[in-house]
Amino acid sequence: MSAGGPRWARRGVPLAHRLIAFDRMRFGITIAGIGFAVVLMLFLLALYDGVRVESNGYVAGRPADAWVAQDNTTNFIKSSSFLRAAIADTLRTVPGVTEVSPILRLITTVDIGPRRTTAIVLGIDPASSLARPEVVEGTAQLQRGEMILDRALAQRHGARIGDSLRAQGHPFRLVGLSRGTNAVLTQLAFIPIDDARELLGFREVASFLLVRGDSGTARDTLVRRLEGRVAHTSVFAQPVFAENNMQELRGGLLPILATVAVLGGVVALSVLTLLLYGAILERREAYALLKAIGAADGYLARLILAQSLAAVAGGVLFGVLAYLGAAPITRQVVPEMVLSLSPWSLTGVAAAALLLGALGALVPLLRVARIYPAELFRA
């Protein structure tokens, strides 16, 4: 730094800053317009991340090495899988297998007080930790006639530990609240597998079998040993099954969210371009003057870009603050809405916004290129 101060301060009149500050109302409207589009993008990306993590959380979080399902069943979310319960006994005889735990999946009504909702009810073996969800309140140890409920579903309907519920008309007592069990469009509930079989009306049935191997057996080896052991079954390594599930999510709700997020970006770009364009038309004389007194094209480009990026930076700041303020309220009002904004998504929105700033400056730049300084002589 020289005696004249920092270089940025010595460069010259901060024209971009002055032009922005001169019309605060317009700048405020621009920031708000971009900011609301950023909020929309952040919400959608947070929902995207939330769905990605939370909807797949239960499957991805199982401490199992392999999933066994009915043949041609590839995932947990969009499938119907029925297995004979006795298959579990066959699999226990496979070398390296230490534990096999059945899951019976039902989609049925759950009555919470006077309100009825539909949930995915999983019948699990209370004695096994393989299928047990992560419980954040109450207990994970289920007894007959007890239920663990997804915490978002419980919050939505005001259910508390100890409350009496009904699943498919049968009474249950709520003993635990779980997380990682919110599939957004529906939520998971857990009951003992014997209760689930009674609800279904079939005794010797399961939907999936979770298999754990001993520490000396590699996962792939275990999967190979399980494959073909029982006819009409498919065996998946745990990460493969979780990824299959994620693929189903990507092919369903996630593209819709991504599309709407892109539309939010288009809205932001339109707002930015429109307001910058209007600002330049309003200041047409100033740009003509700059050209007349010898401002190079590069200077004008930087001037417009600086205004655009300042508006975008303000809009992103506005959007992030608005998101941080609104997200907790949204979670209270709509508990099923899983918002989980990753640092990558936040960085992505900021980078996309900067790109929008550069793109948003293009049309105004073309407009400035068509302003002729000689027109000042007529005014």
């Binding site: 024209l15 032009l19 007194i293 010898g294 002589f377």
Partner: protein, 234 residues
């Protein structure tokens, strides 16, 4: 006058606007003129006589249809926009009837702007802006916004801005057109002094006859042509 004293030389300059046919206008028609340093040249004529077009041609704001324009020994014909822009920045100052000050900037910043565009950094540009403001009686208005100034003050700021990069040529389009008589006289006196004291070529386009006594030569234009050149008696 010797050739070396000429700041601007126009040779058979023609500028045509519009397409061929009835809508075509010969705004400047075969004009040949030498405009000296150290003097104020007044371009006089009725509206539509070609005064403003001639200023635009000298300033490189538009290109001639035919003929040559030489400013400070540099032919403008064939020069690209970047070169013309650089020429205006460093060698030509322009004063407009409507002032065209940037209302978002203070008086000091308006004067500084051409210097900053030319690469002069701030402490230096601020000091020169102060000098110019003092020369034109604006030192107590440096932090004012243009809207707070009178018409005469605005035009003095515009002249200070035009002089910021110490140009050889000043182009002034109806500089008294928006001013009352007293302020107009003061502005013309300033421009005349700049021509004389700093050996600039000051070229004023106006139909205001009150300016003629300040001019070193009066070029009368009619229908885009030179209708006569007079040297006023003092």
């Amino acid at each position: 006058m010797s050739e070396r004293e000429m700041a601007v030389r126009l040779a058979h300059v023609t500028r045509v606007f519009g397409a061929v046919g009835e809508t075509q206008v010969r705004a400047v028609d075969d004009v040949t003129l030498d405009l000296p340093r150290g003097g104020l040249t007044l371009l006089m004529g009725a509206s539509g006589s070609g005064k403003t077009t001639l200023l635009s041609l000298i300033g490189g704001l538009i290109a001639p249809t035919a003929g040559s324009v030489v400013v400070e020994d540099m032919s403008l014909v064939g020069l690209g926009q970047p070169a013309l822009t650089a020429l205006r920045l460093r060698r030509i100052g322009i004063v407009f009837q409507a002032f065209h000050l940037i209302d978002a900037l203070s008086v000091r910043e308006n004067i500084e702007l051409p210097m900053n565009l030319a690469g002069v950094e701030r402490p230096e540009s601020q000091a020169r802006a102060l000098q110019l403001a003092e020369r034109f009686g604006l030192h107590d208005r440096l932090d004012f916004r243009p809207r707070a100034l009178s018409g005469g003050e605005k035009q003095r700021v515009a002249i200070a801005r035009a002089l910021a990069n110490d140009p050889a040529v000043i182009l002034a389009d109806e500089p008294t057109g928006s001013l009352d008589a007293r302020a107009g006289d003061a502005v013309i006196a300033l421009l005349h002094a700049e021509a004389r004291q700093h050996r600039r070529a000051v070229i004023v386009a106006s139909h205001d006859p009150r300016i003629a006594p300040f001019a070193d030569q009066v070029v009368r234009l009619a229908f885009g042509r030179v209708d006569g050149i007079e040297v006023p008696l003092r």
